[in-house]
């Protein structure tokens, strides 16, 4: 009985974490290049239930009754790398990657990767993210100055008529190992090396978040109901405990 109480509690906590992930997806429904996240869950490790008894000679024995799992837990947080809708903006500093790959970003903390194509030119004339981190080319930072920026499908950046660099677009063998660090950036663990990749780039457009409102809403409904069911389980077991404590042992007057 007590065991069941804790099992249902893990159910409530996991549903709560799911709701937190859904609310984060919804909060970022307008964030360019955002990839929605999903929680995968798994049961607690199985344990063997045993029954203690005595045999014919009154010697204690143990009998296996079967297996049981005592709850659920969060296994992984998975970014879903499906492409988002590409929206025409007409802004020359908006680019979208039409396919696999990430832009390389140089931050104070090291290399990061992003699919947010909303760029700007910083005070030094370098291509940067909205937060001021440098967008990297294959030969370092890209300085466009105050000239007109033209980025072609292969990622070559021209400022006016001058060739100033090529965007470093990379992909990863297993992008699921990338860690989100916030600010639309991903960090690659040391053993995951970026591989240059040829991805078509479209200037004047932005990749929107790949959050599907209907899916998220339906997930939200499912989460609420699963949460409710677990709450009911706790209440039911509380009642049963109440009965055994208060009624089973009461002395009938």
């Amino acid at each position: 009985m007590i065991r069941g109480l804790y099992t249902a509690t893990t159910g409530m906590v996991v549903q709560q974490i799911k709701q937190e992930v859904i609310s984060n997806n919804l909060a970022n429904v307008e964030t360019p290049g955002f990839k929605r996240e999903e929680v995968t869950t798994k049961p607690f490790p199985q344990v063997m239930l045993e029954w203690q008894s005595v045999d014919a000679a009154l010697k204690p024995i143990r009998e296996n009754m079967g297996e049981i799992t005592l709850g659920t837990m969060v296994d992984e947080m998975v970014s879903i790398f499906e492409p988002g809708v590409v929206e025409e903006t007409g802004n020359p500093l908006d680019i979208s990657l039409l396919g696999d790959g990430f832009l390389t970003v140089e931050t104070d903390q090291g290399r990061r990767y992003s699919r947010n194509g909303s760029l700007r030119v910083d005070a030094g004339g370098y291509l940067a993210t909205p937060d001021g981190d440098y967008i990297m080319g294959s030969n370092g930072r890209i300085r466009v100055g105050s000239g007109e920026v033209i980025i072609d499908a292969a990622g070559r950046v021209r400022a006016g008529s001058e060739d100033v660099g090529t965007l470093a677009v990379v992909s990863f063998a297993d992008p699921s190992k990338l860690q989100k660090t916030g600010d639309n950036l991903w960090e690659a663990p040391a053993d995951l090396l970026p591989q240059p990749v040829t991805t078509r780039i479209k200037q004047g457009s932005l990749e929107k978040a790949n959050v599907n409102l209907v899916t998220e809403l339906v997930n939200m409904l499912a989460v609420t109901r699963a949460y409710e069911a677990n709450q009911k389980m706790i209440q039911a077991q509380d009642e049963m405990l109440g009965k055994s404590v208060n009624e089973l042992g009461s002395i009938i007057k």
Partner: protein, 260 residues
């Protein structure tokens, strides 16, 4: 549960900033030389979920589970696409065809930039903006002229009633590296900041600067259809985030009602 509430609240807050921006763009649809703004959203930091007491897989997983904490408006980008240039026939209406902004002097001596080319003459016969800020470098018109001519390279001259023309000076234009870093000062003026980079002063038609068209005005670059569709998207995003707040609230209420 608090996190689910705060995530959704951050979304509501970010979307309301977006609605404010759209409202400001729409309000300035008829402001000469106005450049529309567009909010850019970003994720907030991610936190590790591997805390004591949470049912989360521990140990040697490839990527330890992390959870997002909502969104924010990273910056508001001014879009410097050219506005429509319309003919007015007024001699003091100037439009810049291409890059560059007019420079005006603020009362405290600081300089500001503007694309609003609707100038006029003040009581000291100086060329000023509609709000009364003096063009820099200052150009003062003499008395008794019949016509004022401003050529595409910015040379200002007046013609008197005998047909004699007198050169008065040349209008300069200013460009900065990062137009998006300019700070709106009100009255259609933009101020230089450390983010915009130093001003590069030049003459119209030179160094990549645009030429000047007398008798024309640049309207705002706000596109109503675009703003309205953005308004719909933003309003719906706002709505779904408030739904997420409601849901978190309901779930919290269930947790509170565990003990009747």
């Amino acid at each position: 549960m608090l996190r689910a509430l705060m995530n959704a609240a951050s979304g509501v807050k970010a979307q309301s900033v977006a609605i404010d921006t759209i409202a400001n763009n729409i309000a300035n649809v008829n402001t000469n030389g106005y450049k529309k703004e567009r909010p850019v959203f970003a994720e907030l930091v991610h936190q590790s979920l591997q805390q004591q007491g949470l049912p989360v897989q521990e140990g040697n997983v490839a990527s330890p589970p992390q959870i997002g904490t909502g969104s924010r408006v990273a910056s508001s980008i001014k879009v410097f696409s050219p506005g429509q240039i319309t003919q007015t026939g007024r001699v003091y209406d100037l439009a810049v065809a291409g890059k560059g902004m007019f420079q005006v002097e603020l009362p405290d001596g600081e300089k500001a930039l503007t694309r609003d080319g609707a100038f006029r003459i003040n009581d000291q016969r100086e060329i000023v903006t509609t709000s009364g800020y003096r063009m820099h470098p200052a150009i003062t018109l003499p008395e008794g002229y019949t016509d004022i001519l401003i050529d595409p390279s910015g040379n200002v001259s007046v013609v008197d009633n005998e047909g004699k023309s007198t050169a008065l000076g040349r209008i300069t234009l200013v460009n900065v590296i990062n137009l998006g870093g300019l700070k709106p000062l009100g009255d259609n003026l933009l101020g230089i900041t450390s983010a915009s980079g130093p001003p590069a002063v030049g003459f119209p038609g030179e160094d990549g600067l645009g030429s000047i068209r007398q008798g024309f005005l640049e309207l705002s670059n706000v596109d109503m259809a675009e703003e309205m569709s953005n308004l719909i998207i933003t309003q719906r995003a706002f709505e779904i985030n408030s739904k997420a707040i409601q849901t978190a609230d309901e779930m919290w209420s269930m947790a509170n009602n565990l003990r009747k």
